[in-house]
């Protein structure tokens, strides 16, 4: 018989209660149970980084965590970035360019994305990275991006976008 477990997960500051099968991946839970399709699914074995989310504030692969393991935990997905109402600390002067997070804004301005498939994972990788390292060198940026694969933009513009984002956030 299929086991069903009741979980309560906070995603982007909102509480969700659902019954899930233990084998349900967190990535699929976010997309199919909660409809948060900003978290993309690429390789499903922890290599591509497209499904990167924040789990209690740290970047992780949501395809390598079961949804049941998120019970009681705090998740942030890419949808949580551009929510100025719930993140007033990011916009102290009230300036909210289309409600974008400064990292998103920088990716837009520096052409840091083309098809955009890998972008949500990259953004979620960068949030804790830039918090820990507000003034990264190009080497450090490339190192930080090594766990996220992009197949079309080319990394140069992504690196430029990260530099711009760091500037905006300092």
């Amino acid at each position: 018989m299929t086991q069903s477990i009741s979980i309560t997960v906070t995603v982007n500051e909102k509480k969700y209660k659902r019954d899930v099968e233990p084998r349900l991946l967190l990535s699929d839970f976010l997309r199919h149970e909660l409809g948060l399709t900003g978290t993309h699914v690429g390789c499903e074995h922890g290599v591509c980084g497209a499904c990167t989310i924040l789990f209690d504030g740290e970047s992780m692969r949501s395809c390598l965590i079961f949804a049941v393991q998120a019970d009681g935990h705090n998740i942030m997905t890419v949808e949580g970035l551009a929510t100025p109402v719930s993140s007033p600390h990011l916009y102290p002067d009230g300036g909210r360019e289309a409600g974008l997070h400064p990292i998103q804004q920088a990716f837009w301005e520096a052409h840091g994305l083309q098809c955009g498939y890998c972008t949500p994972g990259i953004l979620m990788t960068l949030v804790p990275f830039l918090k820990r390292n507000p003034d990264p060198t190009e080497d450090e940026i490339r190192h930080a991006l090594s766990g996220n694969l992009c197949r079309c933009t080319g990394y140069q513009h992504i690196v430029d976008a990260v530099k711009l984002a760091a500037e905006k956030m300092r």
Partner: protein, 292 residues
């Protein structure tokens, strides 16, 4: 690319976990960080009937000093090894090597115990356990025992743990005084599995003579490879270029046994081992000298 169904168990204490494992050892797998197990389950290479998830056992996650050893709970995240100030001070080899373990996203979830028990010959932590002469504490429902790292790794993805045992703690002796360290590897991209890697430790006496050395390699055989003869060659000697050359040649030509893979030939792995050994020994010796 989705895991097959399984029964999920979530113990909140070691006691509960070992009892569950005793009752289900035939068809259960332990879930630590899941950074190797979950991909294997997604591919359905592994289809355990049950998972015993250790992530809710708070008593398995800690880093603390105890006399002249560090004690690390098996469920401590790899990322915490990287940033812990006690580890940086007492076993700096581990701090230096931790950032080489996959990507930050993996280290945030992956655990020290999970990587050790997985015993992947290409992984960093088994190599570090040998280099640091760790002792590993295993527990089952009725007893606990300590296993030396040297007796723990029994081959590719194989350890000395019995089916009913859980690795609960890692004991790391403080690195001795005047001991220099180095960790080097070569990988196609940062965070990828390395083609070759080495952990080196060198202890020098007041006169600059080597009293103790260690050279342990990853991706160089069916487990972490301890090049004892090369290390022995250095003992009692002042480390100079010809001696380092001889030790690197001995380790890379005679003591390791790399298989080659899709990214590299075995010959190239031996070449890398030789180059890395020389660089690592020089760095370790220099650091030991600075600690005089």
């Amino acid at each position: 690319m989705k895991p097959a169904p399984f029964q999920y168990h979530v113990p909140h204490s070691i006691e509960e976990a070992v009892l569950l494992l005793r009752d289900h050892e035939d068809d259960a797998k332990l879930l630590a960080g899941g950074q190797s197990l979950v991909p294997a389950m997604n591919f359905r290479v592994v289809q355990p009937a049950r998972l015993i998830d250790l992530n809710r056992i708070a008593e398995l996650s800690y880093i603390r000093e105890d006399g002249d050893v560090m004690r690390v709970g098996a469920m401590t995240r790899e990322r915490h090894l990287e940033f812990d100030p006690s580890i940086a001070k007492r076993v700096p080899l581990l701090s230096e090597a931790a950032p080489f373990i996959a990507h930050p996203q993996i280290r945030n979830r992956g655990t020290i115990g999970g990587s050790i028990v997985n015993a992947d010959p290409a992984a960093e932590l088994p190599v570090l356990m040998l280099a640091l002469e760790a002792r590993l504490k295993a527990r089952n429902a009725s007893a606990e025992r300590w296993i030396d790292a040297h007796d723990f790794f029994a081959g590719m993805f194989t350890t000395a743990l019995a089916p009913d045992e859980i690795l609960v703690e890692i004991e790391l002796p403080f690195m001795p005084p005047r001991t220099g360290w180095s960790f080097m590897e070569v990988s196609p991209r940062a965070g990828d599995y390395a083609l070759m890697g080495v952990a080196a430790l060198v202890t020098l006496d007041e006169n600059g003579k080597c009293t103790q050395a260690k050279l342990v390699y990853l991706n160089a055989g069916d487990g972490p490879v301890d090049a004892k003869q090369a290390a022995e060659l250095l003992k009692g000697e002042t480390l100079n270029d010809p001696l380092i050359e001889s030790a690197a040649a001995l380790a890379s030509e005679k003591e390791i046994n790399p298989f080659g893979n899709i990214h590299t030939s075995a010959d190239f792995q031996r070449h890398l081992a030789k180059v890395l050994t020389k660089k690592a020994l020089l760095q370790a010796a220099q650091r030991a000298g600075e600690l005089q």
